[in-house]
């Protein structure tokens, strides 16, 4: 008799993910970024706002591995500190969008009828406004700053998660185990939170990884436009914005923040793709 290694859905998914080398690369990069963000204070060779007017516009050297910007600030240190902001913004805005969108989608899908209609039409209205425009308007209306940046991006993302959760709920709602839960006397909220939502996690997680990439880009764009993070707090987008005027003479000021954004988005995307395959219910069994 073969030994049965009892793994749940997540255990099997993790094993499948581990086998996907490309996705593991993405995961590794993200782990490094998170570590960089957490230990920025120790890793960065200089303070992010330490200005050195004797070493402005320097390209890569032994003292400054990625060079300096127009204020003589070390670009490497600013990028490391900037990771903290980018990841924080990306993560919080998506989590907020998932929670708000998830609840709206679950209620919508489970109860159907007028409630569903109302919520989904509201989401349609929200989705009709181009995401970037919406984020810009919200960010402009609210005071610039970290919290408001997160809120603006989150609001723009809510409809996507509401839709995903709603369609998952609709497909799960008709499965017999939901009827069975009703039959044993489970309340509606128990059914939604204990039975339906856990079974929706897969598409949410995939969308979330890809969404984080989008959120980081939005944050960069908004900061680029001066609506998000304010100087001197380093943020990759605002670093880009700042470097815009010097692009011809000192392209390294644009290149490094740009690379940072690119690598992060890339890592999130390949991880997201890997997760989608690992969590695919068709591969179960």
């Amino acid at each position: 008799m073969s030994k049965k290694v009892s793994t749940g859905f997540w255990g099997d998914a993790w094993r499948r993910l581990r086998r996907n080398n490309v996705a593991m690369v993405g995961l590794a990069i993200l782990v490094l970024l998170v570590l960089a963000a957490l230990f920025a204070d120790y890793l960065a060779p200089y303070a992010y706002d330490a200005q050195d007017y004797d070493s402005v516009f320097q390209t890569s050297s032994a003292k400054h591995w990625l060079g300096t910007d127009n204020f003589g600030r070390d670009i490497l240190s600013r990028i490391i500190h900037g990771s903290r902001v980018s990841l924080l913004v990306g993560f919080s805005s998506i989590i907020t969008a998932i929670i708000v969108g998830g609840i709206l989608g679950a209620v919508s899908g489970y109860y159907s009828g007028k409630v569903d209609n109302f919520i989904m039409r509201s989401m349609d209205i929200l989705m009709a406004i181009p995401g970037m425009l919406l984020a810009i308007s919200l960010a402009a209306a609210l005071k610039p700053g970290l919290y408001n940046l997160v809120i603006a991006i989150a609001i723009a993302e809510v409809p996507a998660y509401a839709r995903i959760v709603r369609s998952s709920v609709l497909s799960i709602k008709n499965q017999e185990f939901i009827e069975a839960a009703q039959c044993i006397g489970a309340s509606d909220s128990r059914i939604i939170f204990r039975h339906i939502l856990p079974n929706c996690m897969a598409p949410i997680i995939v969308q979330a990884t890809l969404g984080m990439a989008g959120a980081i880009l939005s944050a960069a764009a908004l900061s680029f436009l001066g609506l998000g993070i304010q100087p001197p707090t380093p943020e990759w987008g605002s670093m880009l914005s700042n470097a815009r005027q010097y692009i011809r003479d000192y392209p390294h000021m644009v290149m490094y923040p740009g690379l940072a954004i690119m690598i992060t988005i890339f890592a999130l995307n390949i991880l997201g793709d890997g997760l989608r395959d690992a969590l695919d219910p068709r591969l179960r069994n």
Partner: protein, 337 residues
């Protein structure tokens, strides 16, 4: 002995595009405690809807459900939980009737948690869950496994254990063995019989398979398009059928024996639509014995012989019992007119 469950003129209509779908259309029967009523019919007859109406998974459109003499058709919210403790259901599909994210033990524990059995004592609940696993023949070491790791037969046993967790008096079994292999079917059917005897359970056993229902039912009712067309003790049904549909159903079963020359009754055409059904007998379009009256007047469920009811004009014209040959005559007469 009074009945445990009584159903009177039960109706369920669904509003669909195109009109009103008569899923269950005036069904009445009663079941005594400790007995099993087999409900047989093909797809579209309403048997699954009937099962769900009785356990309150669907709202009743009309008629009454009486449990232990009490009217439970439209239960108040406070009473519903209590009613659920008495009436449970075993579902058809062993694959989709279990939450894939929950271990076996959690699935069996859940009803106990919801109803706070054993005063909420976790340890006692767990012990009870493990005992239930023994009762249904699941090895205790499987307690922390997930449904997808097990085969259909074991999964169905989990469904049985879950239904038993609240110690109900009454269980609706919705095609519990249809999705299982033949040799596993036999195991589960035996299990259900044994449990019924041990715990004094009352069952409604819904199935499309007449050979399965014989082994487990005391009485059998045959449904067609939302109505009961025949109902009688199961021993009698296999010896004598009154309704032409029941006859066709029985003759359609392929017999696993050689040399049996089947006098098969082949029905014409397909089942008619349950949406806005026309007046008259629902089976008339396909019936080989159809008479003019069948298209105008709906036959009532009458007692043709002791305890044996059928809804068919062959047996009610002029208040006497007609045989098929008399029907032939009547038809020829009307054709001449």
């Amino acid at each position: 002995m009074s009945s445990l469950l009584e159903v009177r003129d039960l109706k369920k209509y669904f509003k669909v595009q195109g009109g009103l779908l008569h899923a269950v259309d005036g069904v009445s029967f009663s079941i005594k405690a400790g007995q099993t009523l087999g409900v047989v019919g093909e797809s579209g007859c309403g048997k699954s809807t009937l099962g769900r109406l009785i356990v309150h998974l669907l709202e009743v459109t009309g008629g009454q459900i009486l449990f232990e003499g009490q009217d439970v058709t439209y239960p108040a919210k406070e009473d519903l939980k209590g009613i659920r403790r008495q009436m449970q259901m075993i579902f058809q599909d062993p694959f989709s009737s279990l939450d894939p994210r929950m271990t076996i033990k959690s699935t069996i524990l859940e009803p106990m948690e919801i109803h706070n059995l054993y005063g909420g004592n976790k340890a006692e609940q767990e012990a009870a869950a493990l005992e239930l696993m023994d009762t249904v023949g699941l090895a205790r070491r499987l307690a922390d496994t997930y449904p997808h790791e097990l085969d259909g037969g074991r999964r169905q046993r989990i469904g049985v254990a879950r239904a038993l967790a609240l110690s109900p008096k009454f269980i609706v079994c919705d095609e519990p063995v249809s999705a299982l292999d033949v040799s596993i079917q036999a195991q589960i059917l035996n299990l259900m019989r044994d449990l019924q005897v041990q715990k004094g359970l009352t069952y409604i056993f819904i199935t499309h398979d007449l050979s399965v229902v014989k082994h487990i039912s005391d009485n059998i009712c045959v449904m067609y398009l939302g109505k009961i067309v025949e109902i009688c003790p199961s021993k009698i049904l296999f010896k004598k059928q009154y309704h032409p549909y029941t006859q066709a159903l029985l003759s359609a079963i392929p017999v696993p024996k050689t040399g049996v020359k089947k006098q098969r009754i082949l029905l014409k055409g397909e089942i008619s639509s349950p949406i806005n059904p026309k007046p008259g007998c629902r089976f008339a379009p396909r019936c080989l014995h159809a008479m003019p009256i069948c298209e105008k007047v709906e036959p009532e469920l009458n007692e043709i012989s002791t305890d044996h009811f059928a809804a068919c004009h062959l047996y009610t014209a002029n208040g006497t019992t007609l045989g098929p040959s008399d029907a032939e005559e009547l038809r020829n007469q009307s054709n001449k007119e």
